[in-house]
Symmetry: C2
């Protein structure tokens, strides 16, 4: 069956898009069929893969509007087994536009339910969320089996967690009982900083094993790869960034029971 | 007269809040009366100054609702001459709540116009914007004389600029003719990275002198200071972070014609 995972944190710039790209690629390299979905109107994931559709073309916007299926919207990437359902700036007005739709948080779930009955569906779907807890993020959570929260090992990281967990709990209770927090991914980690070590310690004492044991270290190769339209594995497979994301992909695969 | 400046970029985690805190402090230390306004429902600026109001108390939410004046909401900080109008999670629903208000983008402007006629108004108001181009950011732009855009010297920085400039142009044309882009502030800069140097070069070739000559270098002290409830100047006045923000404050003061 298809495992759908929200990569979510309302804090900006914590590595959601970087994690979706590279976790997706790592899982695909380990033999999984992976579909990435760009739910951010800023379309950075789509831009990073050089797959941003022209205005009006099939995109996550037309998917949510019900005008195209996930198959129509999905495109292959340069990584075998890795596809992307990209978006463009058409998604910018989506939260207002769909605000008065009945069941407005379930538009993505509907689109993905039809995916499971297609020929050769993905094993894993990763949802790249915008830095908000608005309608697009709620659509992600309603469509998901699992949640992974990327956090930076810095002060503001812990601030937003309480609010995010409250939203998860409400979605779980009112809209999607199968939703489960499956991982907290610490990123942009630099072990030389006292602050980084303190934040990781605090996360581990609060959340225990939910925190991935792998920490994604600060690695400039991760920031450079998208400017070449590549994941870390095509750009620099020998880098610390590649090693870290491979390790997280294994941990995640185990937690999800992926074959 | 009161100079109102939006610190805005829809990209997450580029240093908006860090810049508001530390530019505000630098200007106050140079003798300006400065008011910071936290327009982000995530309230990080308010948390950093340890001034987040309890739910229901005077806050930017009650300010925008018209229930309190800026004077009611503003509080002193530990820095002489620096005040903050803080917010709390009450602001989370604001964009939906005010969506059908007539002149919904002008709520902040109204509140600040009354400020100019009070006793001892601020010289400078800095507006900390959320990572979106929604109603809260539009309120900031409508209320502003000037715009400063913090950018990270990384790949996605340039991606969002076109869309942001388009929004500025539309606000200027339809709602606020005096709005002017007064600065692009490059932050989290590390000169050892080729990518950083290339991005700065590209920004300078596109925007010329609008780009501040001072670049804010990556400096862990800037990330640590808020966890102690301090600006960089109380936390480590000898740091590169303090030096860089003092330098930007001088450049900004010159551009705004501050005495
Ligand atoms: N481990 C890392 N080492 C170095 N740079 C990183 C790392 N992770 C992410 N970055 C860089 O940090 C910036 C922010 O990361 P990213 O865009 O993935 O965050 P995000 O959470 O998706 O942001 P947004 O909230 O705007 O969607 C990007 O320029 C990215 O390349
Ligand atoms: N020059 C710098 N050197 C080191 N760390 C920095 C620097 N500038 C900002 N940071 C850190 O980077 C993180 C993101 O910065 P900040 O919160 O100011 O960005 P933001 O644009 O306000 O984010 P958001 O979009 O979520 O509001 C914070 O943890 C901050 O302390
Ligand atoms: Mg992103
Ligand atoms: Mg901020």
């Amino acid at each position: 069956s298809v495992q759908v995972i929200s990569i979510i944190n309302q804090k900006g710039g914590v590595g959601k898009t970087t994690s979706v790209m590279n976790l997706g690629a790592a899982l695909a390299r380990a033999g999984q069929r992976v579909l990435l979905i760009d739910l951010d109107p800023q379309a950075h994931l789509s831009i990073a893969f050089n797959r941003m559709p022209d205005p009006g073309d099939p995109s996550v916007y037309t998917l949510l509007s019900g005008n195209h299926s996930a198959i129509d919207v999905a495109q292959p990437t340069n990584v075998k087994g890795l596809s992307i359902a990209p978006t463009n700036l058409d998604l910018t007005g989506a939260e207002q536009e769909f605000a008065s739709e009945i069941g407005r948080e379930t538009l993505l779930r509907d689109a993905l339910e039809r995916l499971a009955s297609t020929k050769g569906p993905p094993d894993v779907v990763l949802l790249d969320c915008p830095p908000t807890l608005g309608l697009l993020s709620l659509n992600a959570l309603c469509a998901s089996d699992a949640v992974v929260i990327p956090v930076q090992a810095e002060f503001f990281a812990l601030q937003g967690m309480a609010q995010l967990l409250d939203v998860l709990e409400r979605v779980q209770r009112r809209l999607n009982p199968r939703l489960e927090l499956r991982g907290i991914l610490v990123g942009m980690y630099s072990k030389q900083r006292n602050l980084s070590r303190e934040v990781v310690q605090e996360l581990r004492s609060h959340f225990g094993d939910v925190v991935f044991s792998t920490l994604i270290r600060i690695n400039v190769r991760l920031a450079e790869a998208p400017s070449h339209g590549m994941t870390i594995f095509e750009y620099d497979a020998a880098s610390a960034g590649a090693a870290d994301f491979s390790a997280v992909a294994s941990e995640l695969g185990e937690r999800l029971g992926l074959q």
